[in-house]
């Protein structure tokens, strides 16, 4: 399978078969008349020039408080083919004694989920910074800061829907977050997607359970629906950061291909660190799009964006991955 995965006319009839294409969206990412609303609820999303330039793929790399952070979010092949925007989002904010990162996947059936995902990640991370980052807060301030950030995020989405005159369900999004504060890491999740915690003792666990049903893609809680913020609050999980060598957050575009992530995360991390050797068989018939190592590449962000273009039949969703590695923390199976 390659980027034009479909066949031509060698089947049972002479019907031509489609190939993937890349189409630029025509409509604005955010309607101009809503920019003031966006500025009101999530100012971090609006640039100094008043615009919110969307991109097919974005990424960042940074070092904060003894951790290396690398993330990227890429428009999936299906959205590219149909001229739709990426509906995944990610955001990372650093502050004096920690950082907060978030990834989100806007629901495919929600008209404005790209805005929902972007608002959720931006508001959550900035709310955590505002709750923890101004002045030295005690270590146990993390719990309260996360709960407040969850409520702030939920309310920001609801405020935006009210201002724009759209339904809450139009903004539906998942949210997965990780926050470091004074040597402790707090995780929260609502909706699908997954996190993998690589312990210093070699184990890999999935601290939080994603939301899934009998069939694929069935999510019961999305922000800002009723009950979602309570689900987010209940999911809070906090642990000593020193037990963690590496933490991985992914939206379902990555998770579904690498499912179950807790089992396949070691192969995923190995691929990011060491690349794919000739003859290496990846899980679930995944075909690598970037066999070279991502970490240590001249431009790790671009390398990760290239890596996110891996191929697996039927898996063409947006993909977002955030990798957090503690300095001095080593993981080996």
């Amino acid at each position: 399978m390659n980027s034009s995965s479909a066949l031509n006319t060698d089947g049972a009839d002479a019907t031509p078969r489609a190939v993937w294409s890349v189409v630029a969206p025509e409509a604005p990412w955010c309607p101009p008349e809503w920019l003031d609303h966006l500025l009101a609820v999530a100012p971090a999303l609006v640039g100094a020039d008043g615009h919110v330039p969307p991109a097919d793929a974005v990424g960042m790399q940074a070092r904060h408080n003894g951790w290396s952070l690398l993330s990227a979010s890429s428009r999936g092949r299906l959205h590219a083919h149909r001229g739709d925007y990426r509906e995944d989002a990610d955001a990372t904010v650093a502050f004096v004694h920690g950082w907060s990162t978030a990834v989100a996947d806007g629901a495919g059936s929600a008209s404005w989920s790209r805005l929902g995902a972007a608002i959720a990640t931006a508001v959550f991370t900035h709310a955590v910074r505002d709750n923890l980052g101004h002045g030295r807060k005690p270590a146990d301030a993390l719990e309260q800061a996360l709960q407040e950030a969850a409520r702030t995020t939920h309310q920001a989405l609801r405020d935006f829907a009210a201002r724009a005159g759209i339904l809450l369900r139009d903004l539906r999004t998942t949210l997965l977050t990780a926050t470091l504060h004074q040597g402790r890491i707090g995780l929260m999740q609502v909706g699908d997607g997954a996190m993998a915690w690589f312990h210093v003792d070699g184990r890999v666990t999935q601290p939080l359970s994603g939301d899934s049903g009998d069939f694929s893609g069935e999510v019961t809680h999305f922000l800002p629906d009723d009950g979602a913020v309570e689900q987010l609050a209940r999911s809070m999980w906090i642990a000593d950061a020193n037990t963690c060598a590496t933490l991985l957050l992914v939206t379902d575009g990555v998770e579904d291909a690498w499912y179950p992530l807790a089992r396949h995360a070691p192969a995923l991390l190995t691929q990011l660190v060491a690349g794919v050797m000739d003859g290496t068989v990846l899980p679930n018939a995944i075909v690598s799009s970037h066999p070279a190592p991502v970490l240590g590449a001249p431009d790790p962000v671009q390398a990760l964006i290239a890596w996110l273009a891996f191929e697996k039949r039927g898996e063409n969703d947006d993909r977002t991955l955030c990798l957090l590695t503690r300095d001095g923390g080593s993981w080996a199976p």
Partner: protein, 213 residues
């Protein structure tokens, strides 16, 4: 199996009343649906088609088959309208063919089922199977009342989504199968919500087809 499928089942009434233009239009519609889906790369990768029929009894004419390998079947209309056997067979193939999510594998997307009927059931067991389908909700089911002799109330007992084809002309069937194709493409793009216990968002029905309230 590592590919997640979008199973699409067509359960067609092939009783005697479908003889002539209606059954030819259904066959033509399935061929058109197949051609349409071959034009959508996501459908090629994920949609799987199956055709089931019911008359005196029900049978699965084409098992769940990926779009690229699907061959539109020959259909012959004759006999009674054993609607119950059609619903029973639907439940049976769900058990046999669908993959559900477990700790080890992602399941299929929730199936799309289109049930076409132009008359009233001639069997007595159909309400039992209709109730099982409604209670288990194993699929997003769209029932299609073909023409004005179809038993809309019976279809309503299977699913809340019933659409009415106002006549059984070739154009009406053509429009219907275009609607099926758009539903499959939209579902393969927009799967991801099952909140509110709801299923899919259907595309707007074409002229000549209405959603029964």
């Amino acid at each position: 199996m590592s590919t997640r499928r979008l199973p699409v089942y067509i359960l067609a009434d092939v009783s005697g009343s479908m003889q002539g233009t209606p059954i030819e239009s259904v066959k033509s519609g399935i061929r058109q649906l197949h051609r349409d889906l071959l034009g959508d790369p996501q459908a090629i990768e994920s949609a799987y088609l199956s055709v089931l029929t019911f008359s005196d009894s029900a049978q699965q004419i084409v098992p769940l088959t990926e779009v690229a390998m699907f061959n539109p079947p020959e259909l012959v209309a004759s006999g009674q309208t054993n609607f119950g056997d059609g619903l029973r067979l639907l439940l049976e193939v769900f058990e046999r063919e669908l993959v559900r999510t477990t700790a080890d594998q992602k399941g299929d997307w929730r199936p799309l089922v289109f049930i076409l009927s132009d008359g009233a059931p001639t069997d007595v067991d159909w309400p039992v199977y209709a109730q099982q389908l409604r209670e288990r909700r194993p699929a997003n089911i769209i029932a299609v009342a073909c023409g004005d002799q179809a038993d809309v109330e019976a279809l309503k007992q299977v699913t809340e989504i019933v659409i009415q084809m106002q006549d059984m002309s070739p154009d009406a069937f053509k429009a219907f199968f275009r609607f099926v194709s758009a539903s499959v493409k939209q579902t393969s793009a927009k799967v991801g919500t099952f909140s509110d216990g709801g299923g899919i968002t259907l595309p707007p029905p074409p002229p000549g087809i209405t959603i029964v309230p």
